[in-house]
Symmetry: none
Subunit: 406 residues, 2 copies
């Protein structure tokens, strides 16, 4: 892999435009009745035609067999090594609710839970309380005062919330309080290693839990909170600086908008539909050299186990593809962050179809890829491409990379 | 990647012979009129026939999207990681003019330039002076005396030259004097980091520039010099020691001869034509176990944007291939260091066709590769092979590698 600082040295700013379309959870799995995947089932004339005129392959965010979360999968697509540059669960929780995470923030995922009178956890999810109740309890927790830090408590949904400690000198080298099993008492937050910042952060987190327990002691079933996934604002090189790109992000879901902001992209405003997203692309076309366009429905339908709905989501994207092509991007890449087969109802490790279109592709040709799906793309010239190698490939095709070495 | 020291441990010296043919800038791009690349257009009966009886694939020197310079691309083909083992521009400049770079040398690329009376650079290339004038000015600069080092100033061509400071204890942790833009004053050479050797080297370089400016002050337009790409003799393990090979290099252009010498190969003497190069191979056949045969015209014709001339250069190589095969090498590899599509008139990132022939190949077979070109080789069994993995593959096929581990 080429280190980011080398990519930074090679990158040059030019007016050519790159569009990276991420169809979340794109890859699927065959329906046993037909033997065809969601992509193979969907009627996608525009994608199939484009695949025949492009270079195809499959992306793999982490490694064979590894099902990536959305955080590492997107970071890989943005050119980062997802093992070196990980973003902790606490940060992703905060980003997922649209919280603007800053450099002094220490974030944790919080679950409401139930403990009995002996102090043993009887339900790690407090009976999956309603989001409405969650909001009411969060209001109580917002009265907690901690020395030297500003505190944010934010409802996610159901029993899930995010806690953000904001202040200088915090550390995320901290253990979880969630023992991951019922029938055990909650754990104390412990510093990992002998670091004063971690010790102080652990004390703050434990003090938060103490005050929360006092405030919630008469609630049922949500009379306790569990904290896990402590994570500071990641110190990662900005995508926009590494590749010297003015970059705009088009995404409906907060987490993807947050991830894009984290790496330096401008988050563009638009409505909630895919049509709205494409309209935003059209509207902002002149202002950016790179666009990240994220489409969520291919993933949510897969997570729901709804094969037909995922097929329909894919077809919905196919219908807007001509509008993207009409903008004549110099380089267009279409792929997913990971697979979400309807049959698995979850993220999977299967490599994800990829298409790269530019005037500088040597097209795979008629005997190669005859459509845009898991099996056709295997025959493409890009092979199974580590997702983190995609950005340099797009930069090369956009003629935005200088020669490496003389 | 297998580290070089492990390859060294596994390598055994045997009489079997490997020939690595590098057709510089081999890979191309389709002519829009025909849809065929230079290789697909060329009539290459011998290469096509050999491809069908070999293992084929594509080599990639650095990573997807990265267009390599000749230095890193050749080092990769010789088995080095081109990110770890880079060779600086100053060294390549010196090698390119046939200067025998030694272990005590600090090399820099020098440009003649024009500065005005305020000391501002008005032309970084001094109006691209003639090579003849360059030679005359270089004679003047050779009178410069510096304490404790021997100085060499060597014409490249036009406004370009190389400066070599020879002496113990020099460092190349130095910044350039070329501000890369006109309208600015030249920069001082500064040491990078707090290192006495770098400080002394910076002083020597700055003193050279001062004396040069004094000697050139009445010249127009070349009244100044700019230095960049300071590079010491690279401290890399010798190819010949790593692989325990007696290796001969056959190349017309000085830079490739210099690179081969740098890694420990004997540079063989011959005339300027491809026929002469093959005659040298025949003449030295008994004396070496490894031959690096470099053919430049596939690159120069691509850089010239001359599709037809590149086709002819490929056909010229095809015509001599039977003579190479007649020597019955145990392993023959044919590839390029990088692509140089005529349409781009420069190095590109596209992977380069590769063929490996030996009695220990399982041939790709009739349903695989039907010719030697960019698209046919994609269907070969070697896939897209990182160029630095080629040498171990050739050593394996030559039965020159012991088993790894018991």
């Amino acid at each position: 892999m080429v280190p980011l600082h080398v990519l930074h040295e090679l990158s040059i700013s030019t007016p050519s435009k790159i569009v990276l379309v991420v169809l979340d959870g794109l890859g699927g799995f065959p329906d046993p009745a037909t033997g065809k995947t969601e992509l193979e089932t969907a009627r996608t004339p525009h994608l199939d035609d484009l695949a025949r005129r492009s270079n195809c392959g499959l992306t793999q965010a982490v490694a064979p067999g590894i099902s990536p979360g959305s955080g590492p999968a997107h970071l890989a697509l943005f050119g980062y090594d997802p093992i070196v540059h990980n973003v902790g669960r606490g940060i992703l929780s905060a980003l997922g609710i649209g919280f603007e995470v800053g450099p002094d923030d220490l974030c944790a995922r919080m679950n409401f839970a139930t403990i009995d009178e002996r102090g043993v956890i009887t339900d790690r999810r407090a009976g999956r309380i309603s989001t409405e109740l969650n909001r009411r309890l969060v209001e109580k927790l917002r009265t907690i005062k901690l020395p030297g830090v500003q505190l944010f408590v934010e409802t996610e949904s159901g029993h899930r919330a995010a806690v953000i400690f904001r202040g200088p000198g915090l550390s995320d080298r901290l253990t979880d309080t969630d023992p991951q099993r019922e029938g055990l008492p909650p754990l104390q937050v412990e510093p990992i290693g002998d670091d004063p910042a971690a010790r102080r952060s652990a004390e703050l987190a434990n003090e938060f839990v103490r005050q929360a327990a006092a405030l919630l002691k008469d609630e049922r079933p949500a009379n306790f909170v569990l904290l896990r996934g402590f994570a500071r604002y990641p110190n990662i090189p900005k995508f926009t600086e590494t590749f010297k790109l003015k970059a705009g992000a088009i995404a409906v879901y907060p987490m993807y908008r947050g991830l894009a902001r984290l790496v330096g992209m401008d988050v563009l405003e638009h409505g909630e539909s895919l049509e709205d997203e494409v309209a935003s692309l059209e509207r902002h076309w002149d202002a950016y050299e790179f666009f990240f366009l994220h489409y969520k429905n291919t993933d949510t339908t897969g997570e729901d186990g709804n094969f037909a709905a995922k097929v329909a989501a894919i077809e919905e994207f196919d219908a807007v593809l001509p509008r993207i092509l009409a903008l004549r991007p110099d380089v267009l890449a279409i792929t997913g962050d990971h697979s979400t087969p309807s049959r698995l109802r979850s993220h999977s490790w299967h490599p994800v179809p990829l298409l790269v279109h530019s005037q500088w592709c040597i097209p795979d040709g008629p005997d190669g890829v005859d459509g845009f799906n898991e099996r056709a793309c295997r025959r493409g010239s890009l092979g199974v491409l580590p997702a983190q190698q995609l950005m340099p490939l797009l930069m090369g095709h956009a003629l935005k990379l200088e020669r490496y070495g003389a």
